[in-house]
Amino acid sequence: MEKTVFVKLRHRVQVKPRAVVVIGDVAQITANDSNIAEQLKAVPLYRIQPSDKNIVIIDVMKVIRAMMEKDDALDVQVIGPAQTIIEVVDQKRRFSSAYFLLVWMLLFVGSAMAIMNFHEDVSMQEVHQHLYEMITGKKNDKPLLLQIPYSLGLGIGMILFFNHVFRKRINEEPSPLEVEMFNYQQSLDQYVILYENKESMGKIDDD
């Protein structure tokens, strides 16, 4: 009976610095002989170097080669992605709360200024005075009755758009923010798969 092994690489794996990556870390392996599968999972593939910074790409060919070296009678069947992105995660990388607070204040003050500039830019004060006169027929230089609900509405609209408050109640679909993060991550992954994977590029020039 032939020794068929099915290999499916994982898309993205996190490891610690200086770890040794074994096949079992980057791939799911199934074989008719579960003994072989267990043995293959323990085969070392790569040791993370400090010079690797934080992203290493393991190509499926590297995995197959390592398996062949272990046992050249294997019939390796690859399913799914052709490479795994290994993310080297430094344990001590925690942001301080002061740093976080700074970013928070930056966004807070920044968006406050942005909305004021927007109001001035579109002359919203005049529009509101005009609207007040249209509805009531009286003049009012400071139509706060309109403007205070408007201000609260601004915040409600933003939160509603990202659907964070009523998340469980309204629906279970991912919010646009989550989709956006996913797309961005997907693009980043595609980029590193192409440009960090030395095996996927054949260069003519000498560098």
Binding site: F108, A112, H130, G157, P176
Partner: protein, 142 residues
């Protein structure tokens, strides 16, 4: 004379057409209406929402150009202001999304799990900035 009148009609119509298409393009790019239908699960009614946006634009255009006065109670302004705010808030939120602010921020600062708190910073910043503007700042401009 007739030619002048026809020319004015034509120019007005052309201008309105250009502004109207621009307005619709803006709404479509930001995707506020699809987002609202998704939130309320009323995708079937999307035609009605289209007409409400069109009717709103036409009514607003007419009222602001003709200086219509309705002589209603001033308390109508409260729901009006609230709706107006929610709409502009959603536009602003959609705009930050088109500009890809959030994913980049989350990556750079490394706070993907705390992004909601940062979102609140922007929402509260908008509320406070807006209130400050109407209550104090407009007096200074004078």
């Amino acid at each position: 004379m007739t030619i002048k009148i026809l020319a004015v009609i034509f120019i007005g119509f052309a201008g309105g057409l250009a502004v109207g298409t621009g307005f619709v393009a803006f709404l479509v790019v930001l995707g506020v209406i699809p987002r609202l239908t998704q939130l309320t699960k009323t995708t079937k009614r999307i035609r009605a929402y289209e007409w409400s946006a069109i009717a709103g634009a036409v009514a607003g255009g007419w009222m602001s150009l003709r200086h219509t006065v309705l002589y209603m109670s001033k308390y109508w302004l409260i729901p009006l202001g609230l709706l107006q705010g929610v709409f502009i808030g959603m536009l602003a939120a959609a705009l930050t999304e088109v500009l890809n602010v959030w994913p980049i921020l989350a990556k750079r600062v490394g706070v993907a799990d705390k992004i909601v708190i940062l979102l609140m910073a922007i929402a509260f910043g908008k509320i406070v900035g807006s209130l400050f503007h109407w209550i104090y700042f407009t007096d200074y401009l004078r």
